[in-house]
Amino acid sequence: MTTSTAEAAVTLDGVSKVYGGGRSAVAALDRIDLAVAPGELVCVVGASGCGKTTLLNLIAGLDEPTAGRLEVAGRPALMFQEAALFPWLTVAGNVDVALKLRRVPRAERRARVDELLATVRLSDFARRRPHELSGGMRQRVAMARAFAQDADVLLMDEPFGALDAMTRDVLHDELERLWRARGLTVVFVTHNVREAARLADRIVVLTSRPGTVSATVPVPIDRPRRIESPEVSDLAGEVTGLLRQEVRRHAGAR
């Protein structure tokens, strides 16, 4: 699926990221080309060391590429593997602080916080503190906080990696619902290929050390999907095959 760069929500053109200099330089990413259409859900998969997190940091503006062009519509919201909520604030306070930092006036904030918590079905827990919640609930608060940024682009760095399978399954449905409802563009990084096949419009496979795009696999499966359905399993198998091929390549290269 090709997208003209004029309409893409996220564009990477020959983006590279090198850490250090001279002899000890480490290339984390090497000439990445990627265009994400508005409203698309793209999953980035790869083995460890493939620079998935670096990629998200670049798109989020937490870091600068050392080469290439990077364009993002607006300032993206970023979710991490741990919810990274502020432990000294309540659930409502955590969502509120995102609005405060955007200088939303106080009168409006209250209503927005209520609305956002209702979106993630956590209205009853507004006065609780993060440490009183389970991992899945914390990630939902993190989602509400991300939505509070009113960003069009949502970046997710293995957000469900630390959760149990049942919660993950439910949150997949939840993410899909919210993605559709809000018309977001999502870049979702994961090492879990099944998860990628369950969620993505297309899967981008990254190689390791340095990270480059080795393949792009479209996922033409109808939604709503189930992670255990044969189509999803088959596609996951296909992508896993590509990844294992990539891993084998490294053994040969030593």
Partner: protein, 303 residues
């Protein structure tokens, strides 16, 4: 809550039906995963916190009395609890003890507050600046290892036998503890919180206000508590050596009673010093720490 016996509902394409199913699943998971917190009654908690301390006091008194009875030292040198407490009562009644305590506490509070101010400034500067940190950081810790009493002779040379010398010793003992508390507090901030803050748009001083300062508070409070302990010790070291006869403070009473060979008097003042140290620590700092730890979620569910 009865669990409805149903098979996995057929996923129709109707999104409203799917939404309902999803909502039920979310609510169910939430109900299952929330830890139930059992709180004991307020009196039960108070008693649980208090009785070990009472037992410790009783034990201390018992051991003391046994040592006196053993005849290890003459009773004129090592009086028992009864003699000391009646001496304590006498000096409360004639006003010497309350007056001395008031003067000592005045010096303690003023010295401590000034040290907190200075320590916070030093800590904030060092925490933020990498160059300052490598240069000054270990200097601060080095100063902290100096026993308070060792500062006193130099303080006397600089300030004479005056309250100023005692003040100086308090500040030198307390500032490093407070500064280190702030530095440790900022060092222990999980980096992911700072990243999360930056993504939300908190950079520069806004990051400081919304992320760094609140996140470093537990460490800072630890520094405040330790700072008080240093302040009290430094104060006593100063007061015992820098004895100014005109307006006696607790340290002077201690020395004076020693000169008069009034063992009961010496021990009575010691009890007061010990008591104040423990009370302030337990009433002020322990509660402060507990409050912060509970709000920050650093304690287990047992509260």
């Amino acid at each position: 809550m009865p669990v409805p016996a149903e098979v996995a509902p057929a996923r129709t394409n109707g999104s409203a039906a799917r939404d309902d199913v999803l909502d039920r699943e979310l609510a169910g998971l939430d109900a299952l995963e929330l830890a139930t917190v059992r709180r004991r009654s307020r009196w039960a908690r108070l008693w649980a916190a208090t009785w070990p301390k009472l037992a410790a006091v009783a034990l201390g008194l018992a051991i003391w009395q046994v040592v006196v009875w053993s005849g290890w030292k003459r009773e004129s040198l090592l009086p028992g609890p009864q003699a000391v407490f009646s001496e304590l009562w006498a000096s409360i009644q004639d006003g010497t003890l309350p007056e001395a305590t008031a003067r000592t506490m005045d010096l303690a509070v003023r010295g401590y507050l000034l040290s907190v101010l200075l320590g916070t400034i030093v800590g904030a500067l060092v925490a933020r600046n990498r160059i300052l940190r490598s240069a000054v950081g270990s200097l601060i810790t080095g100063i902290q290892t100096m026993p308070s009493v060792a500062w006193v002779p130099w303080a006397i040379l600089l300030f004479g036998l005056s309250d100023g010398a005692i003040f100086f010793v308090i500040v030198l003992g307390t500032v490093p503890a407070v500064a280190n508390g702030l530095i440790t507090g900022t060092d222990q901030i999980p980096p992911v919180l700072l990243r999360a803050g930056r993504v939300l748009g908190a950079r520069g001083w806004r990051s400081l206000r919304y992320v760094v300062l609140p996140a470093s508070l537990p460490g800072f409070v630890g520094g405040l508590k330790q700072g008080w302990a240093f302040a009290w010790r430094s104060l006593m070291a100063g007061e015992i050596i820098v004895t100014v006869a005109g307006e006696p403070k607790l340290g002077f009473l201690l020395q004076n009673n020693r000169t008069l060979r009034d063992s009961a008097g010496v021990m009575a003042v010691m009890l007061v010093i010990l008591g104040i140290g423990i009370l302030v620590d337990a009433l002020v700092f322990a509660n402060l720490e507990r409050l912060v730890a509970r709000r920050w979620g650093l304690t287990g569910p047992a509260n």
